[in-house]
């Protein structure tokens, strides 16, 4: 039992935030996206959590489930810039980040910025490119900057990478290195929509309503400044010491499980707390519940753990292994 609440210091200096308005704005954003991306409410929620927590997302799903539409809709909803890179085996790091080029007319080098200089970057089929090109994203994902010709260039804020990978086609792919995987806040699985959702989706897409929705300005669209304010607000969400303790215990439980080859590291604890705070804000709360931690535990950790050989033989997935681990950890007590 603890009365300690971990709150950031700036809360004491800043005026009290308007949680109601923030919640209403987020609901509007969520509804706008759900109106265009039909039947993927959970995916939308998780992507919004990552956006609010200033994290990156690894999307996994078979082609044709609306991954690109999701990113376009997201960019459209907050008025941000959106770019897409199709990763291929011959893609070079400079194609991603940019490069310095000699301008013969002016007799000087000039920097040509790559597609990473945007707000939302869709790295499509990221595992098709070799490790060298994948690693080009490491710096920009962690430091939010790119070094070209010794010069560090900041990418616009907010910056978010949404990388996709196909779970079925493994031929000719390069699995993402663990260091890079660890930099994704969440790994989101996109599954087929339900029957009702698919009926609505098919009707909307075939009548061109979705495409029109993308072209026109949405009512109540939030600006980049609004989004940055919301991101700042996430840091002010209250976190009780018991909840903090629960999050860390969950992550540490993966290190005691003999069923895992590689457990989650401290970055998972940090990511879990960030995601839980954002999830609380998305659900209109100004404090984190153990339920937020539990809801975010699998998306935060599923790509950071490695299953042991016997679990793989038994057909277990990271999700099922994590579910077992979560069930073995006691929730916070009275």
């Amino acid at each position: 039992m603890s009365d300690t609440t971990l709150q950031p210091e700036q809360q004491t200096t800043n005026p009290a935030p308007d949680w109601q308005a923030a919640s209403a704005r987020l609901q509007l954003l969520r509804n706008n996206i759900n109106r265009l991306l039909i039947g993927q409410e959970q995916v939308v929620d998780q992507v919004l959590v990552a956006l609010l927590a200033s994290g990156h997302v690894l999307l996994e799903g078979v082609p044709g489930l609306g991954k690109t539409l999701l990113v376009r809709t997201l960019a459209n909803c907050f008025g941000g810039h959106f770019r897409r890179i199709q990763f291929t085996p011959d893609l070079m790091p400079a194609d991603v980040t940019g490069h310095a080029m000699y301008n013969m007319g002016e007799s000087r080098f000039e920097v040509r910025r790559g597609p990473v200089f945007t707000n939302l970057l869709l790295a499509d089929e990221i595992n098709r490119a070799p490790a060298k090109t994948q690693a080009a994203l490491l710096e920009v994902m962690q430091e939010k900057q790119v070094t070209i010709d010794g010069q560090a260039l900041k990418v616009p804020s907010p910056f978010m990478v949404l990388a996709t990978q196909n779970p079925i086609e493994q031929e000719g792919t390069y699995p993402l290195p663990e260091a890079e995987l660890d930099r994704f806040l969440l790994k989101v699985l996109i599954d087929y929509p339900s029957l009702d959702a698919e009926l609505k989706l098919a009707a909307a897409a075939s009548s061109g309503r979705i495409e029109r929705g993308l072209q026109q300005k949405l009512a109540g669209e939030i600006t980049i400044d609004d989004l940055q304010q919301l991101q700042a607000l996430v840091l002010q969400v209250d976190l009780d010491e018991q909840v903090l303790n629960y999050a860390v215990r969950l992550v540490r439980a993966t290190r005691q499980s003999p069923q895992l080859r590689s457990p989650a590291g401290p970055r998972a604890s940090i990511g879990l707390l960030q995601a839980a705070r954002a999830n609380a804000l998305l659900h209109g709360r100004e404090f984190v519940l153990p339920d937020d931690i539990k809801a975010m535990a699998i998306p935060v950790m599923r790509h950071r753990i490695g299953l042991s050989p016997d679990m793989e033989i038994d057909g277990e997935t990271p999700d099922s292994a994590l579910a077992m681990i979560i069930d073995s950890v006691e929730a916070p007590r009275l």
Partner: protein
């Protein structure tokens, strides 16, 4: 060797699953096992090359013959890794002689060509059994997995040969065509070129070292799988977890209410005994341990334990042969069938005289029809017998009563028995609220609610469930009531949701509700549970 430290999940596996697991583990530890197998063998081969440069074939055979010696170190390493105390390559190499002390002579002579070597080796190296103990152990272990172990040996031996042939072909393919044509094959095939034979030895050594980890670890996993099956490690691990959980709860309880700790232990022991023991024999009840001991002594002194019989001379082993007797109805049926067939073919003297008039077609059709019906009845009978359990279950599942679980006494680290609650919960809640201890006040109300939900409504709230999930379970029961469980009314469900929301606000946001809200909750509580006490 501590079973609780086992790095793989202890569960029953078929031999092929065990081999799969072995292959997967061998891939994971391949480098270490390859090195510890290769280094001693390569040292010995180098020594042979130095001492007997003229005898490459014998040297190769010598190394091959010593495989059981080289196999022991990887086995030692993988066994340590699997039981949670891995050793490095250097440490393992320093221990080269210690696993090789026992039974080395027998392994290099009588047992050298044993097809189940990798399966049997752990008995020598890890259990350190020998002589009769080993034989009886082998006898028990071999009852099931020896076939798979033999196939493992055969398969991997063939893989070694295929790899050797493939690598030789690969080397040959690298020889330019103009040189390949000029190669004189006869001296090479007759073994006149020493360097080539030494090269072959080195190549085969590498192949043996590469395949050995898969062979050793797969055999070891077969052995582990068999022991899990024989000794019930999976059950043992579950009991250990159960005991640990009980001890943890006991420690937590000791902090809360020391008096009830012994009760939990007693319950856990009773539960453990119930789970592990066979159905009760309903023996006479005794009041004290002394009386029990006297009764045991009395039984042991009885005639059943003092019968002596001397038998000498050779005789056939007495085996309890179960002579299957055909049931009378079957015999009757077959007799009837024989009579029927005889009747079918029975012909009158007139018929015998006029054979040309007899029509075979309808008779054969009758027999075929009979056979068809017999086949159908037999097939249905066989199907019913084979799936009898599933059919019985599907017929009985409605009527089988669900075992009532005893309600837990602790939850969320707190005593949730109704007897632990104050006589007047609401009065105590309001008293604590007035005294300023708001957390304790609302906590008591929440605990009292949980207590009633568990004992009156048979809810099961696991340790891992959060308050929100408990509230969801209540809501789910309200929406979909199971027949055998007490239904939850909408007002109770609403009350639980509201109380949970208020409790979460207080516990995690440190924002207590207004006093009026607490008194409303108290009156709602009184309405829901006030009459239960």
């Amino acid at each position: 060797m501590q079973v609780k430290n086992l790095a793989v999940r202890a569960r029953l596996r078929s031999p092929w699953e065990s081999i799969d697991l072995g292959i997967a583990l061998a891939r994971r530890y391949w480098w270490q096992l390859f090195i510890v197998w290769l280094l001693p063998a390569a040292t010995l081969l180098t020594l042979c090359y130095w001492l007997f440069p003229e005898s490459p074939m014998l040297s190769g055979l010598f190394i091959w013959w010593l495989k059981p010696v080289f196999d022991r170190l990887p086995l030692f390493m993988i066994s340590r890794a699997l039981f949670g105390s891995p050793v490095s390559v250097g440490t393992a190499l320093r221990h080269f002689f210690s696993p090789n002390r026992r039974d080395w002579f027998l392994w290099l002579t009588l047992r050298r060509l044993s097809p189940t070597r990798s399966f049997d080796m752990p008995i020598t190296v890890l259990e350190q059994s020998g002589g009769k103990a080993r034989s009886s152990r082998i006898g028990v272990l071999h009852r099931k997995h020896s076939g798979a172990a033999t196939w493992l040996t055969l398969t991997l031996y063939h893989i070694e040969i295929f790899l050797l042939a493939a690598l030789s072909m690969l080397a040959f393919l690298f020889i330019p065509e103009q040189y390949a044509e000029g190669i004189e094959w006869m001296p090479l095939l007759q073994g006149d070129t020493l360097w080539l034979e030494w090269l072959y030895n080195a190549l085969y050594l590498l192949i043996m070292a590469a395949v050995a980890p898969f062979y050793i670890v797969s055999g070891f996993c077969l052995y582990i799988g068999r022991r899990i099956e024989l000794e019930g490690w999976d059950i043992e691990i579950q009991f250990r977890d159960f005991l640990e959980r009980q001890q943890r709860e006991r420690r937590a309880r000791r902090r809360e209410t020391p008096g009830t700790a012994s009760l939990i232990l007693l319950c856990s022991l009773a539960l453990g005994t119930m789970l592990s023991a066979p159905p009760p024999a309903n023996a006479e009840t005794v009041d004290t341990p002394q009386q029990g001991q006297e009764r045991i002594d009395e039984i042991l002194a009885g005639e059943d334990f003092h019968q002596m019989k001397e038998i000498s001379g050779w005789r056939k082993k007495e085996v309890d042969e179960v002579k299957e007797k055909f049931p009378q109805w079957l015999i009757d049926f077959i007799e009837w069938l024989i009579d029927f067939i005889e009747w079918l073919f029975e012909r009158s003297p007139e018929d015998t005289e006029s054979d040309s008039d007899f029509e075979w077609g309808p008779e054969i059709a009758k027999i075929l029809e009979l056979l068809f019906w017999l086949g159908l009845i037999g097939g249905l009978g066989y199907f019913g017998w084979k799936h009898r359990e599933a059919i019985l279950n599907s017929l009985q599942w409605h009527s089988s009563p669900k075992e009532q679980q005893a309600p837990p006494e602790t939850l969320f680290g707190l005593d949730v028995r109704q007897s632990s609650l104050p006589a007047d919960v609401c009065a105590e809640v309001m008293r604590l609220w007035a005294s300023g201890d708001k957390r304790a006040s609302l906590g008591l109300l929440y605990r009292a609610t949980l207590s009633h939900l568990i004992e009156d409504f048979a809810f099961y709230f696991g340790d891992h469930l959060t308050e929100g999930e408990c509230a969801q379970l209540v809501r789910a029961r309200q929406l979909e009531t199971e027949e055998e469980l007490r239904p939850v009314s909408p007002t109770l469900s609403h009350f639980v949701q509201e109380l949970t929301a208020n409790w979460q606000q207080l516990a995690y946001a440190h924002r207590p509700p207004a006093e009026a809200q607490v008194s409303t909750l108290c009156s709602q509580w009184q309405e829901e549970f006030g009459n239960d006490r």
